[in-house]
């Protein structure tokens, strides 16, 4: 059932690409139907798979002479992320509802690239064959470029090219490690589970792990390779920012866990020498993750562009995901996967508020200008929405972010106590930048010098925007109140990870 999420998205993309241009206005309805069908399939697959460890989805010999198979399967982690992709896809279409209302929007092409990207993302989360995973991973790169370069805003061609080149450089690093692993293991299988059984020499793992991990982590926005993320997010049209932060950055983190860490667990072992307390690749990357948390939050604190605030906050939140993975503890990895889901939903909501609801009406994202517009009164819906999304994002109990961040911090406390403290400080800075942005954009007193100024009138909030908001905010609230919905799927899947991975916390 889950496999049809992939086929449906690609089929939809193909049909939209060949649709005559006169059907511009119908494209969004078609895309919404496809995205909804994908979400329903993802949900059904999620429910049907509960209680099982891994659900086999498809298995066909693809290139038998090279040991490459078309193998799809879903364990708990995959099912959670597929569900996230379905939600992000539907929300993305809903928040792109203004595309296709004017001539020259090229709505067919927009939604074709959109669905192609979604199809690739579904594919990555479901692939068990390493080669297949890589194919889907690369398929997701090209549509991103066009989505940003054609329909984007601020410095769109620069942002799009930077993002494409970073992604492609990362995937080249992954491909080197992947080819080397394939050759070392005897060139007869690409199945992730079979390769994970193969005893790669420790010296091999010691260079393959950092290479592949970095390759994937570039897409996860790991400091110091994060610079594509803020520029890309800011340049992208709303739906593309939502997908970038919501699911594409998750591809990177997912690859780090599924490929780099699962195949080369001994790459995380200590080197035997210690330099300033850094004694393994694990500490190196955990340090990068913590720097990312603090750095992203600190930079978000001084941005004047509303969208840059959210862009840098994504870097910070993805740092938490990477830190959680590197704790190598059950609770830390649980938290990291939950944080992927939670951040996917919340980043989508924040980008939708800033990029679609506010920017499309005020045509500015500059916090200084926004502060003069009395948005708190002119757009109460947007103001309250940002309050809720911001609170959820800073980790208020009752929302999904809280459960995830607590788990990551507990795991980090067991593995790297000092890093946990620093990450905690990062979360506090997160509160600060969210409050600052909220205050300046919506509740500023700057207009008070001229109390007679009229409250500007803006277009009312459309049904599509409301539907998208309720979908995302409702999901975050639901998971925050009852996290076991997801954790029951994630925990067994984390327990099933290679044994060597989960021993790290008990050293």
């Amino acid at each position: 059932m889950l496999a049809y999420t992939i086929y449906l998205s690609f089929a939809g993309a193909l049909m939209l690409a060949f649709l005559p241009r006169a059907w511009n206005a119908g494209a969004r309805f078609f895309a919404l139907a496809i995205a909804l069908a994908g979400l329903i399939l993802a949900l059904l697959g999620f429910i049907a798979g509960s209680g099982q460890s891994t659900v086999a989805v498809a298995d066909l010999a693809w290139v038998p002479s090279m040991g490459i198979h078309y193998t799809l399967a879903a364990d708990g982690i995959s099912r959670v992320l597929v569900l996230l992709t379905g939600l992000a896809a539907v929300a993305g279409v809903l928040f792109s509802w203004n595309i296709g209302t004017k001539d020259g929007d090229r709505a067919n092409e927009f939604f074709a690239f959109f669905l192609a990207l979604i199809g690739g993302v579904y594919g990555v989360f479901l692939s068990v064959d390493l080669f297949l995973l890589f194919v889907f991973y690369e398929i997701a790169i090209v549509p991103k470029y066009f989505l940003i370069a054609i329909w984007g805003s601020t410095r769109r061609e620069y942002g799009a090219m930077k993002l494409a080149l970073y992604s492609f450089a990362g995937s080249a690093m992954v491909l080197i490690g992947l080819l080397a692993a394939y050759a070392v293991a005897g060139s007869h299988t690409m199945n992730l589970h079979e390769l994970a059984q193969y005893p790669f020499p420790v010296s091999f793992q010691m260079w393959a792990f950092p290479l592949v991990f970095t390759g994937f982590a570039i897409l996860a926005g790991m400091w110091p390779f994060h610079t594509w993320a803020p520029t890309g997010h800011v340049a992208a049209p709303t739906a593309a920012s939502m997908l970038l932060a919501g699911v594409v950055m998750k591809l990177g983190a997912y690859g780090c866990l599924r490929v780099a860490m699962a195949l080369f667990p001994h790459g995380l072992d200590p080197w035997g020498v210690s330099f300033l307390g850094i004694d393994s690749w694990r500490t190196v990357f955990a340090l990068f993750a913590v720097i990312g948390i603090i750095y992203g939050a600190a930079v978000a604190l001084v941005q004047n562009d509303f969208k840059f605030v959210i862009g840098y906050s994504s870097v910070s939140h993805m740092g938490l995901v990477l830190l959680g993975l590197l704790t190598l503890t059950q609770i830390g990895i649980d938290g990291a996967v939950l944080q992927m889901f939670s951040h996917g939903i919340l980043a989508g909501l924040l980008f939708a508020t800033v990029g679609r609801i506010v920017y499309e009406r005020t045509h500015t994202r500059d916090l200084a200008q926004l502060s003069r517009l009395q948005l708190g009164k002119a757009m109460p819906f947007a103001a309250w929405l940002f309050v809720i999304a911001g609170m959820a994002s800073m980790g208020l109990p009752g929302f999904s972010g809280f459960v995830a961040e607590v788990q990551v911090l507990v795991g980090a406390w067991q593995a790297f106590p000092w890093f946990a403290v620093v990450a905690g400080v990062g979360i506090v800075v997160g509160v600060a930048y969210t409050w600052r942005a909220m205050q300046r954009a919506f509740f500023s007193e700057a207009w008070a010098h001229d109390p007679s100024a009229p409250i500007p009138e803006y277009e009312p909030i459309t049904w599509a925007e409301k539907a998208g908001v309720f979908l995302l905010a409702g999901t975050s609230l639901l998971i925050g109140l009852y996290p076991r919905l997801l954790l029951d799927a994630i925990t067994p899947a984390v327990q099933a990870l290679p044994h060597a991975l989960l021993t790290g916390g008990h050293q």
Binding site: V63, M66, E109, V135, V142, Y145, I150, S171, A172, A180
Partner: protein, 489 residues
């Protein structure tokens, strides 16, 4: 010492060379038809008839190759027929047929008969180069190919650029042919035979300094044919100046034939030579490979002409393939051929699109492609597929070719030390290559068109391009389709 003289099997020879014979006969027929009967007809009719006859010739030869059981060949034959050779020949014939289909509507030549006849002669040369295992036959076949291509490059008689590029191509080509012949003479002097297979045992005897000189000279000749650094200087000018279909032919069929020859030479000469002489020859090949990869990809970044951009990218692709030649295992030989064939197919398509855009806008500069997706979405879509395949994006065939080639290089025993480093360099460079392919695609999809009216493409050209694009996608989705001829993995 020429041992095959006593045992020539003329029946077998006739069988093996029948495709070439068919092409020769058709090339004469074309001349008679065009210059005899159609002399007074309209230019468009003459071009159409001549090109369709050319297609028929290629298809006839193809048909013979496909239905005919593999001819027997023995060690010492000047021409061989093995599955790999057959695969290369089938590919070359298909590529030439595609070039004819894309030439039908072109207007660069007022002599369609001669054009078609010379393309057929070049194709004959390619087929012979692929099958040849004797130094003399190799040289004669290469010269047939090269001389035909020099003439074709100059075929746009009203274009000064065409003449200039042909002259450059000819001067470089003549020089490298002379060097190669000189190298061949040393090889003959050292081993007493002109046959590659018989030469191998004589070369594996021990270290001979003169043999290294000979191989360097041969490398110069073959390096020119595949446009590898430092013998690449002709490529950008020729790619830019020649008529579009001719550039397609130079970039496709000629490349396939040259790489098939390189695989044969590496089987017959390099492998035994390697065991006797250490890695001097490998170092030479690797230097050429890495030089081509680096220079090709970096120089392409700075181009504003799409033809020159593809010329530099061709240099880079030749570099990737030379890595496979240097690995010299049976798998890597097959992988090089797979790469060359699929690369050639994609390039023919790309030059087809360039030719069409050039006819409409009068320029091959990147800006001439601005807004192509709005002027003709189908044409733009095919170019998207071709360029992404060249960049190695899955699921298109270019990705499989790269994957197959690099995994063959990594598995080669002789590649133990350098394999990983060079594959890493090649993959890093191909990440750079995405930048310049995206520069073209940006013009096509992102920028606004300078001319608003739709760009009309004749149905035959569009059908050909769609067919090629479909093949690139289908081969990418089902890469095992060619495995009857070229085994993957």
């Amino acid at each position: 010492m020429i041992m095959q003289a006593a045992t020539v099997n003329y029946g077998n020879l006739f069988n093996i060379t029948l495709p070439e014979t068919i092409l020769e006969v058709v090339s004469l027929v074309v001349l008679v038809v065009d210059l005899g009967w159609l002399r007074k007809s309209a230019q468009a009719t003459r071009m159409g008839v001549a090109c369709m006859l050319g297609v028929l010739g290629c298809v006839g030869a193809l048909f013979w190759l496909l239905v005919h059981p593999t001819a027997v060949s023995v060690d010492g034959d000047a021409l061989v027929a093995t599955p790999l050779v057959a695969a290369a020949q089938v590919g070359i014939l298909l590529l030439s047929a595609l070039v004819f289909l894309l030439s039908i509507k072109t207007e660069f030549s007022r002599n369609p008969g001669e054009f078609t006849a010379i393309v057929l002669l070049a194709t004959t040369g390619m087929l012979l180069v692929t099958a040849a295992r004797d130094l003399l036959v190799i040289f004669v076949a290469l010269e047939l190919l090269s001389l035909s291509l020099y003439v074709l490059t100059a075929f746009a008689k009203r274009s000064a650029q065409s003449a200039e590029s042909a002259l450059k191509y000819y001067l470089f080509g003549g020089m490298s042919a002379a060097l190669m012949l000189f190298g061949f003479s040393y090889l003959y002097g050292l081993t007493g035979t002109t046959n590659l297979t018989l030469m191998a045992p004589a070369l594996s005897g021990g270290t001979v300094p003169l043999a290294i000189v000979a191989l360097v000279l041969v490398a110069a000749g073959l390096g020119f044919k595949v446009a590898a650094v430092p013998f690449h200087l002709w490529a950008p000018d020729t790619y830019q100046g020649a008529p579009a279909p001719v550039t397609a032919l130079i970039a496709s069929g000629s490349k396939v034939a040259s790489f098939a020859l390189l695989v044969a030479v590496s089987d017959g000469v390099i492998a035994p030579f390697y065991s006797a002489n250490g890695n001097s020859w490998i170092v030479l090949l690797l230097t050429m490979a890495i030089g081509s990869i680096v220079l090709g990809n970096l120089a392409a970044l700075a181009q504003t002409s799409v033809r020159r951009l593809l010329a530099y990218s061709a240099i880079a692709h030749a570099g990737y393939m030379l890595l496979g030649i240097a690995a010299h295992t049976p798998q890597s030989g097959a992988a090089v051929l797979y790469y060359a064939l699929t690369y050639a197919l994609t390039t023919v398509g790309a030059f087809g699109v360039i030719g069409i855009v050039e006819r409409s806008t009068g320029s091959d500069r990147m800006d001439a492609f601005a807004g192509l997706s709005r002027r003709n979405p189908l044409l733009a879509g095919t170019m998207l597929i071709f360029l992404l395949s060249l960049a190695g994006i899955p699921p298109l065939v270019g990705f499989w070719a790269k994957f197959n080639l690099f995994s063959a290089v990594l598995r080669s025993a002789s590649a133990g030390n350098w394999g990983l480093a060079l594959v890493a360099a090649a993959l890093g460079a191909s990440a750079i290559s995405l930048y310049y392919y995206l520069q073209v695609l940006k013009r096509i999809y992102v920028l606004k068109p300078t001319q608003d009216e739709p760009l009309h493409v004749s149905s035959i050209e569009l059908a050909t391009l769609l067919l090629i694009a479909l093949a690139v996608v289908a081969l990418g989705l089902l890469p095992g389709m060619l495995s009857a001829w070229i085994p993957l993995g």
